[in-house]
């Protein structure tokens, strides 16, 4: 049974976010509308301490520390938002809740956004954040990387690039509905089958998102750092996907997990029934609490 809170959130996102994505809104307008929607998300609880130092070269980033006394664990979290916008308060709260559930410190990276900063600016910022954590002496076996939607795609890209650069791998990765396929080949599968059922996302502006994210490099859409569904996963740490069965991005998680398993990487996929995209961030919904408790279990399994 889907809770009434989640049902209400689905209806509201269908009437607002989905409609924005279907219309010819400018990026500035879309960001403005998201900022006004964000007022409905509560701020981070008092028991989470936020600081900005040490920062990153080109973008803002925050450290979130639970006052309960953190363990050695660190969660590097990359927010979603179609590479062009983001729900700052919602992502901060999501990470705060994950940190509290696992006694971990959180690193929230507000990587540069397209179209002002197209690929690879965002990925570069995430790589800098990853490298910084290693430079701070945090052992990689205590590090988990996580991301929602576009942030999930970037989380996979960071893992692939870190492996290619011979950097140590983190203990695991949490991928919440990653948007892992930027190629233009969605003629079947969940992108078509769930087009009407998805309460948040609409692919009507998919081409535009790809064009704005890649800038002059549209030909790179097949590159594994941009479409991790096409990547070789050899050497990556265990992956944990959470996705809704009614999302257009459902197949991205399945395809990534299948490729990972084929390369000998443990990859689990949780398919949640009738949840909206990014439901983990809906702090008022019971399903969000349950999802975070399960993510925390995974983090404890990977970083004992």
């Amino acid at each position: 049974m889907v809770s009434w809170q989640t049902r209400t959130a689905k209806l509201l996102s269908r009437l607002t976010i989905r409609q924005s994505l279907k219309r010819e809104l400018s990026i500035a307008d879309m960001r403005e509308r998201i900022r006004s929607m964000e007022r409905f998300f509560p701020s981070v609880p008092d028991d989470i301490h936020i600081e900005n130092e040490p920062g990153l070269s080109h973008c803002d980033a925050e450290w979130l520390t639970p006052s309960s006394g953190p363990t050695e664990r660190v969660i590097l979290h990359l927010p979603g938002g179609a590479f062009m916008t983001r729900f700052v308060r919602a992502e901060r709260l999501l990470l705060a809740r994950m940190c509290r559930a696992t006694n971990a410190r959180g690193r929230l990276v507000f990587y540069r956004l397209a179209p002002e900063n197209p690929y690879p600016a965002g990925l570069d910022d995430c790589m800098e954040a990853y490298q910084q954590i290693l430079d701070l002496g945090i052992p990689p076996e205590h590090l988990i990387i996580s991301g929602v939607s576009a942030g999930g795609c970037l989380a996979l890209s960071v893992l692939l690039k870190a492996r290619d650069l011979d950097l140590p791998m983190p203990a695991g990765a949490i991928l919440m509905s990653p948007a892992a396929d930027m190629t233009d080949e969605s003629t079947d599968g969940s992108r078509v089958a769930n087009a009407a059922r998805d309460a948040v996302l609409s692919l009507e502006r998919g081409d535009e998102i790809r064009r704005l994210y890649l800038g002059e490099h549209v030909e790179l859409a097949n590159h594994p750092y941009i479409s991790p569904v096409l990547a070789d996963y050899t050497g990556l740490p265990p992956l944990f996907f959470q996705v809704s069965g009614s999302e257009i991005l459902l197949d991205d998680s399945h395809r990534c997990a299948e490729r990972a398993r084929a390369c000998g990487v443990p990859a689990e996929v949780e398919v949640w029934d009738r949840m909206p995209h990014g439901w983990q961030a809906l702090s008022f919904a019971p399903e969000s609490g349950r999802a975070i408790a399960r993510l925390a279990d995974f983090i404890r399994e990977r970083c004992p």
Partner: protein
Amino acid sequence: MSTTQSSKPSNPGHAFMRALRQDHVGLSRVMREIDTQAHRLTEDPEGARAILVDAFRYLLRYHHAYHHPREDRLFAHIRARDDELEQTLQKLSHEHESGEQETERLADDLTHASSEDLAGEYGAALVNRINDYLRHTRTHMRHEETVFYSRAERVLTDEDWLAITADDGPDDPITDIRTMRASYPALARSLDDPTSHLGLNRPERSSSNELRLQVLALTDLYGGLMYEAIDLTRTNFRRLKSARGPVSLVRAAGTIYADNLRFAGQCVTRPSRWAVNTGAGLIVGWLKPYMNDQQDRTGEQFGGE
């Protein structure tokens, strides 16, 4: 008793603490599985029951039999060295006891309930109890990590560690897949499955699915109209505000009137179009099985001749 404190984590202490943390790996994995199965208990009582009973037995035979006694020995030694934690550690030890009793009760209640009971109100109440159990166990693990895991290696002496690590039991069986398959077959099968489905387990009927899609399309339609109405209102206000003098005001009013009229037309035509299309679609969907049936019979007749 010696009061010499170790300047750095002693080897037996370090290995012991690592083993305790490692036990939480298995415990967390099983918590996740219990959560999955609890939520399908009322829909698939037999399938979920087998896995849940295995999971609770695993917890009783390993975590309550060996892991918690190890932690309790550790608590006792920390209490002797650091009375600041007396109350907290007492509470944690008490939670071990109450947790074991609840695990036993849940395993018994699941084993002895009929399938009908599990599918009904009794099953729903059991799911609530399992959810409470999960919440308590996870909170308990979190407290252990913050309260005493970091403290233990600081305050205990080599002598303490020797006493704690003596008479240690077996390793967590979850690390050995063969043991798990032999002792807890249903749980092992479920843990092996890399895909979990959370939520509805019964496939939806195609007719209700079709109806739901149409309702979603209607919501989209009204969402779109609402969105356009808001945009139109904003534009109208802008037009009125920018009017300078009576002539431009009349011109703005004319444009607003025309745009509003066009939008009102859309409000009438779009839902009507949806109603006609949906009605036709549902009728075709409803007739399809009869038409296919008729076609098959005709085919059989011709085939028979």
